[in-house]
Symmetry: C2
């Protein structure tokens, strides 16, 4: 079994460290990486179908006591209601402060199970076992956990670092195409932030869920390295961690807008699709200021991604309609929006004095260059 390992060291210096382990066939060996004997396996119905049997068998044969909690697949499970139900079920099953949570799934399961672990008896260990590309390269690493409320996404939660992140590369094989592409957006974003190789990966024919194991065993750690380096410097997003929001400021607004406009004929944008549009927007804002011009590459990526089109009601004249969605972002402080721009690939900066005229110009550029996208 080929294995790669990164270690994430949290600030301050000599703070806790945790390993991020990549291997093919890791699920069969999970127990070797888990010290606790009693485990709450939290997963969703979709993932359970593909992976739970293997994981449960591997852990049981290693003598672990396992309690499995399966939530419905999808974002709706990231709620305070599901959160409360999981906590109650775990309490009724007699789990205690020495039990651990194993989060087996994509971003939803990882965020939900992470917050459960953060608050069960004031915090127990959690192992993140990401099954989607998005979770592998982004959400499973860095300790952000949380649930949604009617007021917005991820507004309730905790910073709760996993004891280990355990990535079985083979889980990629079972990913539906749209789920794979969702993760590719964050991987591409990591490339723009710090690693040219990642920024061009989408052009590689091996960049598919069926790509060679060796290829993915190189690429995944590269992508996680970007995130880990940033988290190591700034665990709780006081500073550079905000770089990871490249493309997300407009992206979140587009995502919210599309969810609020789901009349017949309009499917809402996925998070990844919205962020991919947001990356073009951020690239244009950067270029307008005389920084890097990555607009072409971001458009190429968008063509590779084949996102759903923007809602027809979004035109040159209607950027203002997005404003209320922009300013609802929880990272907005005192209505001063912060944008992540690129001085160059590998050199992001935080800018908070972008003028309305700059936004309007980038918006017109985005519309003009994405309306003819092949769908």
């Amino acid at each position: 079994m080929a294995v790669r390992q990164l270690n994430l060291e949290l600030p301050p210096k000599d703070g806790p460290t945790y390993p991020i382990i990549f291997a093919d066939g890791l699920y069969q060996h999970l127990a070797e990486h888990i010290t606790e004997t009693t485990i709450a396996l939290i997963t969703d119905e979709h993932i359970a179908h593909y992976h739970a049997e293997l994981v449960v068998a591997a852990l049981a044969s290693a003598g672990k006591t396992l309690h499995t909690y399966t939530v419905p697949a999808g974002e709706a499970s990231k709620s305070l209601t599901t959160y409360g139900s999981l906590l109650s079920a775990m309490l009724q099953d007699g789990l205690d402060r020495h039990s651990a949570v194993l989060a087996l799934g994509g971003g939803v399961v990882g965020d939900l199970a992470g917050f459960v672990a953060a608050s069960f008896m004031r915090g127990i260990e959690v192992y993140q076992c990401p099954t989607s590309l998005l979770a592998m390269v982004d959400s499973s690493v860095g300790g952000k956990t949380g649930v949604n409320t009617p007021e917005g996404k991820n507004l309730v939660g905790a910073f709760w670092q996993p004891k280990a992140v355990l990535v079985d590369v083979n889980a990629l094989r079972t990913l539906p195409d749209h789920t794979f592409r969702e993760g590719a957006v964050e991987l591409f974003k990591h490339g723009l932030l710090a690693d040219e190789t990642l920024a061009t990966a989408f052009k590689d024919p091996r960049f598919t869920p069926m790509g060679e194991t060796e290829y993915w065993l190189e690429l995944l750690p590269r992508a996680v390295r970007v995130k880990a380096d940033i988290v190591m410097e700034d665990e709780t997003e006081q500073g550079v961690r905000a770089f990871l929001n490249l493309g997300h400021t407009l992206g979140h607004a587009l995502e919210s807008y599309s969810h609020a406009h789901t009349e017949v004929g309009y499917a809402p944008l996925s998070h990844g699709e919205a962020v991919a549009y947001g990356l073009v927007f951020a690239a244009k804002l950067s270029a307008q200021r005389g920084y890097a011009d990555e607009t072409r590459r971001c458009l190429e990526f968008l063509q590779w991604l084949k996102p759903k089109p923007l809602h027809d009601s979004l035109t040159n004249e209607t950027f203002d309609q997005l404003s209320s969605y922009l300013y609802n972002d929880k990272k907005a402080h005192d209505k001063q929006l912060r944008w992540i721009l690129l001085e160059a690939v590998g050199k992001p900066i935080i800018v908070d004095d972008i003028h309305q005229t700059e936004l309007q110009a980038a918006w017109r550029y985005l519309l003009a260059n994405t309306q003819g996208l092949p769908v």
Copy 2:
């Protein structure tokens, strides 16, 4: 205005530090200690009646933007339901990552508001402003926050340290007698753990809610010092923080038992009453092992406290009935109960090999010496 201040330095060395400030008339000066401009004031109906007007006026006149959230008084507010409602209300009111929570109340408000702060947008600052003696000397310091679930007390929550603890000694004046006595139990316990002066304080005629300000300005910091010293060594209860559970192992069981047996004629024991019985029990366990014999003093304290009597069904023969309540304690690990004993006043130890015969003997002692208590 006379002021006393302690600083609590969290581990590891050079970790965050926060002040615990004691003064008479501190509420008028609260704003001087709060750096954030937008504040979620969380309190309960009872406390709001006595203190909210003063606090709100003081903060408003200092230019703070204030949102007030008042929950019903009593333990029932420490629920996931109230927790979710508070979070939603704060989100709807536009509070953000730069807002702070001000917890104005006793233990219930402090625990609930602390957990809200711990998880609102993954954690915002909280100021603990304890109004009860219990909250002043115990629960407001040390960062334990949480809510109850149907499965038990404090089973969901977080370690979330306040940015400051702000104690207005004048709040003691409004305390009902039973609330004052509840806090006196923890203060007495702190005395047994570390400070002879605190262990005899209950005999002092000034030890009443109406005692001189100067007296309380000396005594309260002494009591908090005990807790702070322990928390500084062990924030998340991996070791010595367990000392604070002196009297609580049996206490929790007695409290749960009494809540499960509330037929006509039996009011449930308060937490403090139950712990006071537990202190006698722990003192007897200690004496039986040849350690300190503090049984006499614990019985004297019990006489001062005048707790409700133990349930009639608890007899020499029925100690086993308590067992299921004992082992339900969330601190029990693998059914191995840990007891805090006293080698001497100021010298607690953790013991996990207490035999059933020792428990039975201490139980008989407790019953024999408390059934004739003046009520």
